[in-house]
């Protein structure tokens, strides 16, 4: 049943975008998190940071108008917004590691109730690649994750302890899933919003660690996209 009602990736990204304040400095991880930029709330102007030394980039140029010296961390061509700035990689990660970003939004293989994140490697096979993930998890005032609530096999992605290799320890502060919005506080998952169509118990059943509540749990309401 959950597969029918769960949010699409676009809808998860939309929900995450609602929490980005006007003027916030934001880094979106490569891939799925990049979608968040598409759902920027009308009237708000976040400033997007890219690891490769760009602050204030805009959407992709029209096909054929790419300038391959102007790319983002995902190596996609981007455009510049007024007020943009370029800088070298050490300065770029000073912004990250120095806590100057307001929000980083990342994908996840697993998130633990402690805030530990695993998102860079499934096991010990193949070619490992980490990129900026281990920096970003320590880089922002808020480190949020967007993810399906469960894996394709139906296993929980919100867990007591990560079993995949860690990206960072005690770093995630909020998780936007296909079923719920969950904060991480003092080593616990705190449920903030859930799809109105599912019960708390149903949600708990597909979550790998205890969901706490504090006051009322809101309805996770997202438009058709």
């Amino acid at each position: 049943m959950m597969d029918d009602i769960k949010l699409s990736n676009d809808q998860i990204a939309w929900r995450a975008a609602q929490d980005i304040e006007d003027g916030a400095y934001v880094n979106l991880g490569i891939g799925f998190p990049e979608k968040v930029a598409q759902f920027t709330v009308e009237g708000r102007e976040p400033v997007f940071h890219s690891e490769n030394g760009v602050l204030g980039f805009g959407p992709a140029p029209k096909p054929g108008e790419e300038d391959w010296d102007l790319i983002n961390a995902g190596k996609k061509a981007v455009t510049l917004k007024p007020g943009a700035a370029f800088f070298h990689h050490a300065d770029s990660f000073s912004m990250v590691r120095g806590g100057h970003l307001d929000v980083a939004i990342l994908g996840a293989l697993q998130v633990a109730q402690t805030g530990d994140l695993a998102n860079w490697r499934v096991g010990n096979k193949g070619v490992p690649a980490v990129g900026g993930a281990m920096d970003l998890v320590h880089g922002a005032k808020r480190v949020a994750v967007i993810t399906d609530h469960v894996t394709k096999n139906g296993d929980p992605k919100l867990v007591e302890t990560c079993t995949f290799p860690l990206t960072g320890v005690q770093c995630v502060t909020r998780v936007y899933t296909s079923l719920a919005v969950v904060d991480i506080e003092d080593g616990h998952f705190v449920l903030r919003e859930k799809l109105p169509q599912i019960s708390f118990d149903e949600l708990q059943a597909v979550t790998g660690a205890a969901l706490k509540t504090q006051g009322e749990v809101g309805d996770l309401v997202v438009p058709e996209l």
């Binding site: 400033v47 602050l55 204030g56 007020g83 800088f87 300065d91 590691r97 120095g98």
Partner: protein, 235 residues
């Protein structure tokens, strides 16, 4: 996003007693004289001030010291052509001094901005300024461990600024200003001219706006060196 404020007074109004304040500039080059004087008008006490020097004459940081606002100076060179303000209070035991080698001062500030809590440097190894600091050998050579140096506020002087906080600097007035922008919780920049957003080419931004919180325009700013030479006093 609009980080500009209309008056000097409102940019510094919330700096509380006991704050740690970085002040950019090296001598008169890049010294935010108008911001400093606005801070004197605001009058917080018990400040820790970080600057390469410790004031000259009777204006700027020296005037802050004269006004009794400064509990502690962190600097590399508290001497100058007219260091009376600091010297008298220091010799009287009324002001504390943390003396830091200039390059270590710069690197500690940069480290704070870059999220690096500690680093190793050859500077000061074997000297009294390294006393009490951890020493570690790398590749057979001894180094001193130094900690990041953060501030609550930074007051900086820039040439051009925009509403997003992007800054450029004039000539050697860059000095400590860009790294102090990175190292303070709240960075306040006085700029000679506010330009429209986009008015500074992205390749020529020196301090990206992410490091700046407030921008105030001070056209034709005073040059501290000339004020000192004219014997000016701010009180």
């Amino acid at each position: 996003m609009d980080k500009t404020l209309a008056t000097l007074a409102e940019t510094v109004a919330d700096i509380p007693d006991g704050a740690t304040v970085m002040i950019g500039g090296f001598g008169g080059s890049g010294a935010p004289v108008e911001l400093i004087h606005a801070l004197i008008d605001a009058g917080p006490k018990d400040l820790t001030v970080i600057n390469n020097n410790a004031g000259t004459g009777r204006i700027g940081i020296a005037a802050m010291i004269d006004a009794g606002m400064v509990r502690k100076m962190i600097c590399s060179f508290p001497k100058s052509s007219d260091p009376r303000a600091f010297t008298e209070r220091y010799l009287a035991g009324e002001i504390e001094l943390e003396l830091v080698p200039q390059g270590t001062l710069a690197e500690r500030i940069r480290a704070a901005g870059a999220g690096i809590p500690a680093f190793y440097t050859p500077t000061s190894y074997g000297t009294e300024l390294a006393e009490g600091k951890p020493v570690h050998e790398f590749d057979g050579r001894p180094y001193v461990q130094e900690r990041w140096l953060k501030a609550d506020y930074a007051l900086v002087k820039a040439e051009l600024g925009d509403a997003m906080g992007n800054l450029t600097y004039r000539l050697a007035a860059r000095n400590f200003n860009p790294i102090m922008c990175m190292a303070a919780t709240t960075t306040i920049a006085q700029v000679s001219k506010i330009v429209p957003v986009g008015g500074i080419d992205a390749e020529q931004v020196i301090t990206p706006g992410i490091f700046v919180n407030r921008v105030v325009e001070v056209p034709n700013p005073q040059q501290e060196e000339l004020l000192i030479r004219s014997g000016a006093t701010y009180a």
